[in-house]
C-alpha cells in the first residue's frame, strides 16, 4: 500500500484541482484534453516502457477508437464493394466506448502478430505505416467518415443505470471527472499487470530476451497481449476525445500527437507507473503556459529544449530521477550522524 501513496496523493490533488482553479473553463478544457492524451501516453508506456517496443503509430489506435465510438453513436449508411449496403442506427455513446475498446484491441492483436515476429526497428516501421494507412482511409472513405469535412454532432457521454435515470455529461467539470475516472482505472489496471506474472514476463523480455526465452516465456504471446491491452487503452482515450470534442476529422491521426506521447513517456520516465502522468501533465499543460507568449510552431522548440533539459539532469526521466534523489537523501540522513564520531580523534 505504501508504494501507492504518491499515486493516491496525485489522485487526490487532481480531484481537488478544478475547485482550486475556480472552475475556469479554459483551464478545465486544457486539463481534459491533457488527461485524454495522458491516458494514451500511459498506454504507450505499457509497450515502450515495460516491453521496450516503440510504437510510433500509437495514434492510430487513438484515432480508430475515436472514429469507432463516433460512428457507433452517430450511425452511418454506406455501400460496400459489390453493392452491399450497411445501415447502422445510432447507439448510445457508452456502447461506442465499448466497441472502440474492442475494435482497437483487435487492431492491437493484428499489429502485434504481424510485427513482433521481427521486433525493434521493424515494429516501429510497421506501426508508422499502420497509422498512415488508417489516416488515409479516414481521409478518403468520405461516405463513412465525411473525410476532411469531419464527423460533427457527436453526442456527449451519458451515464446511468436502467431505472435510475441517466445523466448526459455536458459540462466541462463532468467530463473532467469522467477522464479522471477512466485514467485512474487505466492506472490501476497497468499497476496490477506490471506487478503480476505477466508483468514479470514483460520485464524479463525487455532486460534479457534470451534468458527470458530460456525460462519458458513465450515472447510473441507476451508482446501481443501487451499490444492488445495498450491498443485498447489508447482506443478508450480516443473514444473519450470524440465524445468530449464532439467533432473529429482525420487530423486525429497526426504523427505529431504520437511524438507528443513519446515525449511525455520519456520525459516523465518510461517503465514507471507515474512517469507518463507526470510527463503528460507537464507537456500537456506547457502549451497553456506558452500560448500567451509564442506561436504553436515555436512551442515545439520549447518542448524539445525542456525534454533535453530533463534528460540532461535526469537521464531516465523525472519520476526515476526524483525517486533516486529521495532514496539518496534518506540514505545520507541515516548515515550522517555517524560521520562526526568517526572523524573524532
Amino acid at each position: 500500500m505504501i508504494r501507492h501513496i504518491p499515486a493516491l496523493a496525485l489522485l487526490a490533488a487532481l480531484a481537488a484541482l478544478p475547485f482550486a482553479l475556480g472552475q475556469n473553463p479554459y483551464l478545465l478544457n486544457a486539463l481534459i484534453t491533457t488527461g485524454i492524451v495522458t491516458i494514451a501516453a500511459m498506454s504507450l508506456n505499457l509497450l515502450l516502457g515495460f516491453t521496450g517496443q516503440l510504437s510510433l503509430g500509437h495514434i492510430a489506435f487513438f484515432g480508430i477508437g475515436a472514429y469507432v465510438s463516433a460512428l457507433t453513436s452517430l450511425g452511418f449508411d454506406v455501400e460496400l464493394v459489390g453493392g452491399v449496403r450497411v445501415v447502422h442506427e445510432p447507439w448510445p455513446p457508452v456502447v461506442g466506448f465499448l466497441l472502440a475498446v474492442l475494435a482497437t484491441a483487435a487492431c492491437g492483436y493484428l499489429v502485434g502478430r504481424l510485427s513482433f515476429r521481427v521486433r525493434g526497428a521493424y515494429f516501429v516501421i510497421v506501426t508508422i505505416s499502420f497509422a498512415e494507412v488508417v489516416r488515409l482511409v479516414a481521409l478518403n472513405w468520405v461516405e463513412l467518415t465525411q473525410g476532411p469535412l469531419a464527423l460533427t454532432g457527436i453526442p456527449p457521454f451519458s451515464l446511468g443505470l436502467p431505472g435510475l435515470g441517466t445523466t448526459t455529461l455536458r459540462t466541462k467539470l463532468q467530463n473532467y471527472y469522467l477522464v479522471l475516472v477512466v485514467g485512474t482505472l487505466c492506472y490501476a489496471l497497468i499497476a496490477r499487470l506490471v506487478a503480476s506474472r505477466f508483468g514479470r514476463a514483460m520485464r524479463g523480455l525487455k532486460e534479457n530476451e534470451s534468458l527470458a526465452l530460456s525460462v519458458g516465456i513465450n515472447a510473441t504471446r507476451t508482446l501481443t497481449v501487451a499490444a492488445v491491452i495498450s491498443a485498447a487503452m489508447a482506443g478508450a482515450a480516443g473514444s473519450l476525445y470524440a465524445h468530449y470534442l464532439r467533432i473529429i476529422d482525420p487530423d486525429v491521426f497526426l504523427f505529431s500527437t504520437t511524438v507528443t506521447m513519446v515525449i511525455m513517456v520519456v520525459g516523465g520516465g518510461k517503465g514507471t507507473l507515474l512517469g507518463p502522468i507526470v510527463g503528460g501533465l507537464i507537456f500537456g499543460l506547457l502549451p497553456v503556459a506558452l500560448r500567451p507568449v509564442m506561436v504553436p510552431e515555436a512551442q515545439w522548440m520549447v518542448f524539445g529544449l525542456v525534454l533535453i533539459a530533463i534528460q540532461f539532469v535526469m537521464p531516465k526521466g523525472i519520476v526515476p530521477g526524483v525517486a533516486r534523489l529521495v532514496t539518496r537523501r534518506r540514505a545520507s540522513a541515516a548515515t550522517a550522524p555517524r560521520i562526526p564520531m568517526e572523524v573524532r580523534p
Binding site: 499487470l193 506474472r197 520485464r203 524479463g204 534468458l211 526465452l213 530460456s214 525460462v215 519458458g216
Partner: protein, 273 residues
C-alpha cells in the same frame, strides 16, 4: 541409469555460411549423469548448447530429449519439456532484484492468466511462487542477496542467479554454460557442492567448462570437442591420458612428448589446470 538416453545428440552439424562450427557431433547423456563437454576455445561447445536449446537450428542432424525430437521447437517450448540451461555471459535480468529475477524464472510455475491478474484472483498463487523463490535462493546460497539488484552483483554471484533461474523451470536436465568462470577457488568449491546437490535431486547435468580441475572432480563422463568434432569421450581418468586430447590442448609436439613419458607431468598438469 536407463538404457534409453535422456538426451541424444544425433549427428548434429552447424554451418554459418562457409564456416563449420560443428562438423558432426554425436553423443548421448543418460539420466542421472554429470557429463562435461570440453574443448579449446572455438571448438563449438556453446554452439552445441544453442542447438540443444533451440536458439540455433542445426544444418544437419537432430537432438532428442526424453525420446522427443526437438526439431523445429522454440526455446520456450524446449524448456517446457524439462531441458533447462544457463548462459555464459548474461545470466541475469540486470535491472531487477535477485528475488524478482527468480520470480521471473518461475514463469512456468505460475498459472495466473492475464484475466486473473486483472480481476485480482491470483493472490494465493503469487504467495506460493514467492515461497518457492525463497527456497531456490536458499538452495543456491543467495538468500542474503535477495534484495540487491542482480546487475550489481559480483560476476560469480550472477552465475548463481543464472543457476537459480534455470532451476526455477524445474528441469529434468540442466545445461550449464561455463558456470564457474569468474569464480575464485573457494567459490568454485561451493559450486561443486551445488552441482552435486542438483544431481541428488535427480537432475541430469551437462556442463561446458574450462576449469579442468573442477571438470575432472565433478564429471562422471567427459566429451571432448575440437574444431567442431568429437575427439574423445570417457571417464575423467581416461580423458586425462588421451593423446588426442592432450594434442588438442597443447599442440602436436606436446602430445609427442607425452607419448615418450618425458612430458607426462607437464602435459597432465596443463589439462588439470
Amino acid at each position: 541409469m536407463s538404457d534409453t538416453p535422456i538426451l541424444s545428440i544425433e549427428h548434429v552439424g552447424v554451418r554459418f555460411g562457409g564456416l563449420v562450427a560443428i562438423a558432426d557431433l554425436h553423443f548421448d547423456v543418460h539420466a542421472g549423469e554429470i557429463v562435461s563437454l570440453i574443448g579449446p576455445n572455438g571448438a563449438g561447445k556453446t554452439t552445441a548448447f544453442n542447438v540443444m536449446t533451440g536458439f540455433l537450428k542445426p544444418s544437419q542432424g537432430q537432438v532428442r530429449f526424453r525420446g522427443t525430437s526437438l526439431q523445429g521447437l522454440q526455446p520456450h517450448e524446449i524448456v517446457r519439456l524439462g531441458l533447462g540451461r544457463t548462459f555464459q555471459r548474461t545470466s541475469v535480468f540486470p535491472d531487477d532484484t535477485v528475488f524478482d529475477n527468480v520470480m521471473i524464472g518461475l514463469h512456468r510455475q505460475g498459472r495466473a492468466r492475464v484475466l486473473d491478474t486483472l480481476l485480482g484472483r491470483d493472490r494465493a498463487g503469487e504467495a506460493r511462487l514467492r515461497e518457492r523463490a525463497r527456497d531456490l535462493l536458499d538452495w543456491v546460497g543467495l538468500s542474503g542477496r535477495a534484495g540487491e539488484k542482480a546487475g550489481a552483483l559480483a560476476y560469480g554471484e550472477q552465475r548463481l542467479v543464472g543457476v537459480a533461474l534455470a532451476l526455477a523451470t524445474e528441469p529434468a536436465m540442466l545445461l550449464l554454460d561455463e558456470p564457474v568462470s569468474g569464480m575464485n577457488a573457494s567459490e568454485t568449491q561451493v559450486f561443486v557442492r551445488l552441482i552435486r546437490s542438483i544431481r541428488e535431486r535427480g537432475i541430469t547435468l551437462l556442463l561446458v567448462e574450462h576449469d579442468m580441475p573442477m571438470v575432472m572432480e565433478v564429471s562422471d563422463r567427459i566429451v571432448v570437442l575440437n574444431y567442431g568434432r568429437l575427439i574423445a569421450e570417457g571417464p575423467p581418468a581416461a580423458i586425462r591420458a588421451d593423446p588426442a586430447v592432450i594434442e588438442a590442448y597443447l599442440g602436436h609436439s606436446s602430445a609427442a612428448l607425452h607419448q615418450d613419458g618425458a612430458g607426462r607431468t607437464a602435459a597432465t598438469e596443463t589439462i588439470d589446470a
